[in-house]
């Protein structure tokens, strides 16, 4: 089948997700990317793979680009020769490709022709000609650690000076480096240097059995463990032709919405705190703790890590769980409504929130922003309604969007999404009660060598993507994980421009992006 009038023949990939794959040459890839851009589609992810030694006559490398189009997820693969592997620079069409292209070179040694050529995940801690994701590299070697001299972009001018922040930050957060160029209090430019928590996740996947690596996927970004585990399992189930029982899918949705609520509660508290209302932090953290405790009691883990497994879920709800969840939903809803009123009417808070850290819709679109940050800037992307997999096809999720793109919009959106997730949870509970089956797991059949599957799930922060290729005898040949943070980080550089330095923590928190999820 063909899309967007392009000369590219796609085939439907197996599995529940509407996903399609095509092999392309350079011209076709560039043309397709341009067509996606023109028709309002979006760039989702880019990664590379080492295709050498697959069989004796074929070889080289490949770059894979995932696009979101009206029909679903369109994956385009461009094969490359083993000597001098290069591909056309896509960052001119989609700026979000920039850091991913640099990542691709750091890990695999395949280069985009043009664009930013500075390293991204590689700091000074392994040699420039060491490419850990190549098949003839085992990835075990350790090199001496050095401090890196990174070529930041300098802002010149009268009274301009720089503030370097990080990698270790002042709060309890993940490491990253921010280089502010400022005049007085005003931020002229922010440049990020990320990659500090790169711990070789993609190489590690290749050492784990396919049937067990959902645990690693669930630790790409701990706050999104459910989303990543589901995406991984969806990919694994797609390539192994496994359909989990309906009860398992309803339970997965329950977990995903619980993860959304837990994170939103925490963020709403932290956002109040960053605008000097510590009352908000205490109240919301209390609610979050209640929420986590019930998750721990019902699913055996406060963040529900390892609750989703290939083929279904690790356990069913214990007796009496439905009543407990329903009761908690009511209690949380009542309290969050009170707190929303307090936030809405707090002049000091609103003064800090409104017009701060603005990401306008046109820019959000140009930068391929999705998820929560996107919806706060008019980007109405939500996989739960666009490409709903079971049970979201029966749930009719009402997504919230805003146009202002400021901190206030991202706060309001979180409130609305908490209420919506509570509503969905009640529907899910009813379905679980009606569904009398006790089956919550179907064994994952052995995956054929070379089988490929995709998983794409709307986590609390945005979409997460897992691309998985099986190797021989239950192994993994390649697994790429993509968190929407990777695309949203550059937007933060824009959103802080013109704001004052002391508002940066608030703006940063309003996005609350994952470092680990982008560093891998």
């Amino acid at each position: 089948m063909r899309f967007l009038d392009q000369n590219l023949e796609f085939t439907r990939l197996p599995g529940a997700l509407e996903s399609f794959h095509a092999n392309a040459d350079e011209t076709q890839l560039s043309a397709f990317a341009a067509a996606v851009k023109q028709t309002g589609g979006r760039f989702v992810a880019l990664w590379g793979s080492d295709e050498r030694k697959r069989n004796s006559n074929a070889g080289g490398y490949a770059v894979h680009v995932a696009f979101g189009i009206a029909e679903g997820l369109a994956l385009v693969t461009l094969p490359m020769h083993a000597e001098n592997p290069e591909y056309p620079d896509l960052s001119e069409i989609f700026p979000a490709a920039n850091r991913l292209q640099r990542t691709c070179f750091d890990l695999l040694g395949i280069r985009a022709r043009g664009g930013d050529q500075r390293p991204w995940l590689r700091h000074a801690n392994w040699p420039a000609d060491y490419f850990p994701l190549r098949r003839d590299v085992d990835g075990a070697r350790q090199f001496e650690a050095h401090n890196e001299d990174y070529a930041f972009v300098r802002v010149e001018g009268d009274g301009v000076h720089e503030i370097p922040v990080g990698p270790i930050h002042a709060g309890i957060i993940e490491p990253g480096h921010f280089r502010f160029s400022i005049v007085g209090e005003k931020v002229l430019r922010l440049e990020q240097r990320l990659g500090w928590t790169h711990k070789g996740i993609e190489k590690r996947f290749e050492q784990l059995p396919l049937a067990e690596a959902h645990k690693l996927a669930g630790r790409v970004s701990g706050d999104s463990t459910v989303a990543f585990a589901w995406a991984y399992c969806l990919a694994a189930e797609s390539l192994a032709a496994c359909t989990p029982p309906p009860r398992a899918l309803w339970l997965r949705a329950l977990l995903l919405e619980r993860e959304r609520v837990a994170n939103h509660l925490g963020d709403l508290g932290a956002l109040g705190n960053d605008a000097a209302l510590s009352f908000g932090l205490a109240q919301f953290l209390r609610l979050k703790e209640d929420w986590l405790r019930l998750s721990g009691e019902l699913f055996g883990h406060r963040f529900m890590m390892d609750a989703i497994v290939p083929g279904g879920v690790a356990r069913d709800l214990p007796g009496g769980a439905s009543e407990k969840i329903a009761r908690q939903c009511n209690a949380i809803e009542r309290e969050v409504r009170i707190l929303k009123n307090i936030y809405d009417e707090h002049a000091g808070l609103q003064d800090r929130f409104l017009t701060t850290g603005r990401l306008n819709p046109a820019l959000a679109s140009a930068l391929s922003i999705s998820g929560l940050a996107g919806r706060a800037s008019s980007q109405a992307w939500d996989l739960r309604t666009q490409f709903p997999i079971t049970p979201y096809d029966q749930l009719d999720v009402r997504i919230a969007t805003h146009r202002n793109g400021d901190v206030a919009a991202r706060v309001t959106l979180r409130f609305e999404e908490v209420f919506e997730s509570l509503r969905l949870t009640r529907i899910i509970l009813t379905q679980l009660l009606e569904n009398k089956s006790t089956e919550y797991f179907a064994p994952l059949p052995a995956a054929p060598d070379g089988a490929f599957g995709l998983g794409w799930i709307e986590g609390w922060r945005g979409d997460v993507l897992v691309a998985l290729e099986a190797g021989p005898a239950g192994s993994i040949r390649r697994c790429h994980c993509h968190d929407s943070s990777t695309r949203t980080w550059p937007a933060l550089e824009h959103a802080v421009m013109g704001n004052i330095v002391p508002d940066f923590p608030l703006i940063n928190k309003s996005f609350n992006l994952s470092y680990s999820g982008q560093d891998l």
Binding site: N125, W126, F143, A145, I172, H198, K199, L285
Partner: protein, 177 residues
């Protein structure tokens, strides 16, 4: 304002009793003298360092500040700089990219300094098959457990450790033997 005050009153005090120290968590024997521990026990300052975690451990460290655990009520608080800290709370397998930063933070912390390694990644215990670096292991990008890079006094297993386990680890680090 009325609503806000009412909410505070209605909520009441939620703080629960803290756990007691557990010597099983020690990696080395207590190095500090009783008199020193007594002082620290009343006003301990912690600097948290994420050396490469998945951010799961950070979620539980955050929870230490919620009204249930209320760490500050024990005289324990988090500081923004290692120069102000008595104890480093380190999470994650140590990413190669974080080695220099972690060493510098350790050097910047005034002696006597305590280090608590957090999570299965940071220590090599727990359900991650005793792997240094937990599920991430050791590789070109990961140095594994925290003790591979800086000296560690107490290690708290768990993925992530619960807030109670974290509190217990911190209290163990400042308890005498």
């Amino acid at each position: 304002m009325y609503q806000l005050l009412k909410q505070i009153l209605v909520t009441g005090i939620k703080t629960e009793a803290p756990p007691v120290a557990d010597d099983a968590l020690r990696v080395t024997t207590q190095r500090l003298e009783q008199a020193m521990l007594k002082t620290l026990g009343r006003a301990l300052v912690i600097r948290h360092i994420d050396a490469g975690s998945c951010n799961g451990c950070e979620l539980e460290i955050h929870a230490l500040g919620n009204p249930y655990y209320n760490l500050e009520a024990l005289g324990i608080r988090f500081a923004a700089s290692p120069r102000h800290a008595d104890l480093l709370l380190v999470t994650g397998p140590v990413a190669s990219n974080m080695v220099v930063a972690l060493q510098r933070a350790y050097e910047a912390t005034p002696a006597p300094k305590l280090v608590v390694a957090v999570g299965d990644c940071g220590c090599n215990t727990g359900n991650c098959a005793g792997n240094s670096g937990g599920i991430f292991g050791e590789s070109y990008a990961s140095r594994g457990k925290v003790a591979n890079v800086i000296p560690v006094d107490v290690a708290v297993p768990g993925c992530p450790p619960t807030p109670l386990a974290l509190m217990q680890g911190i209290l163990t680090a400042i308890s005498g033997k």
